[in-house]
Assembly symmetry: C2
Homo-oligomer: 193 residues x 2
Amino acid sequence: MRADALKNHEKIVEVAAQVFSEKGLDAPIDDIATRAGVGAGTLYRHFPTRDDLIDAVVKSWMNQIDAAADQVVASGAPARVALMEWFETYVSRISRNKGGPAKITSAMGKSESPIYSKCETLRLANDRVLSHLRERGELRDGVDSLEVCRLIGGIAVVADQGTLPSDSIHSMLTVVIEGLVSSDHAVGDSSRE
Amino acid sequence: MRADALKNHEKIVEVAAQVFSEKGLDAPIDDIATRAGVGAGTLYRHFPTRDDLIDAVVKSWMNQIDAAADQVVASGAPARVALMEWFETYVSRISRNKGGPAKITSAMGKSESPIYSKCETLRLANDRVLSHLRERGELRDGVDSLEVCRLIGGIAVVADQGTLPSDSIHSMLTVVIEGLVSSDHAVGDSSRE
DNA sequence: ACCTGAACACCGTTCAAGT
DNA sequence: ACCTGAACACCGTTCAAGT
């Protein structure tokens, strides 16, 4: 790749990250091209579809996701606490840009999507958390990791369109978590309070 | 209202229902105008925003929603069965047109939306089902009707974008339902099998 | 080999001119 | 009073012409 092409490529990704965070993932492509100082054709050469560009921008978040999942597993926290922490991280990461939850969740499990590998990273991180809890017998049987991603993604999508009361996400996550933990642990141990 | 205006109004709604079901709620407005045999300006006069048009089209579904909720309540079925039946109806109704789940769920609780009254109908129907189960002590405390609508709406949104395996919705609903039923009833009564 | 930007297409929305 | 449809705006995408 020629030096100017490489420079353009990097500049476009840098500017796209900025524009996406200001205007959301549906921001006009031309805004990005203009602010990156390149012609529209150049942007399309480097990133034929919007998803290719999103894929490049999203790349840097994924280490954080992995770290968060591993940390939750390492903490050894009980299922409810661990899941709430993990799911809140999950929601906040994919909601970093407006339109993110819808984009990411709709690409989940679609191997032909340009952002598929990022979705896989998410799904695998989620799988690690769930598997860990399942081994300890804290999870209901028949819980599928991909479905949990979609469920949490659905909550993030709803939260992303319009402003919800801030504790609303927490309440919805609570319902899902109660639905995930195994019934042996579900009955409130009143020794808590 | 003049006779020709009334006729146009009705024709537009009729054609819109057809076009929406073919191409989804994001179908080009002009397709509707053309097929209704009116100019674009006429359509905008009758329905200043897309949501006004959607509101008119959606109107006829709502009796079905009410009927379904009442029937579930009247059946006296146990919580899991009642909720699954109700939620499946809920999802299928709002998913009747592509883009429906997102439109409806994002308008939920926003009183300034042109389709607000339809969302209220949905929420109130949901509330009737939940209240009935709560009275019988089958529901966990602190469950808010609006949040449940958003949760189920989130599932419908995810299902609406891209084709999921057909039993995937059912699995996700199961998780939510397990999270909603009160723990007194949550422990598997093994007398079942 | 890569870049530019004018050109085209598509669609939402308005408004002057008609009846 | 209501309708028409040309006109404008906006944005995605392509491609002939440049370097």
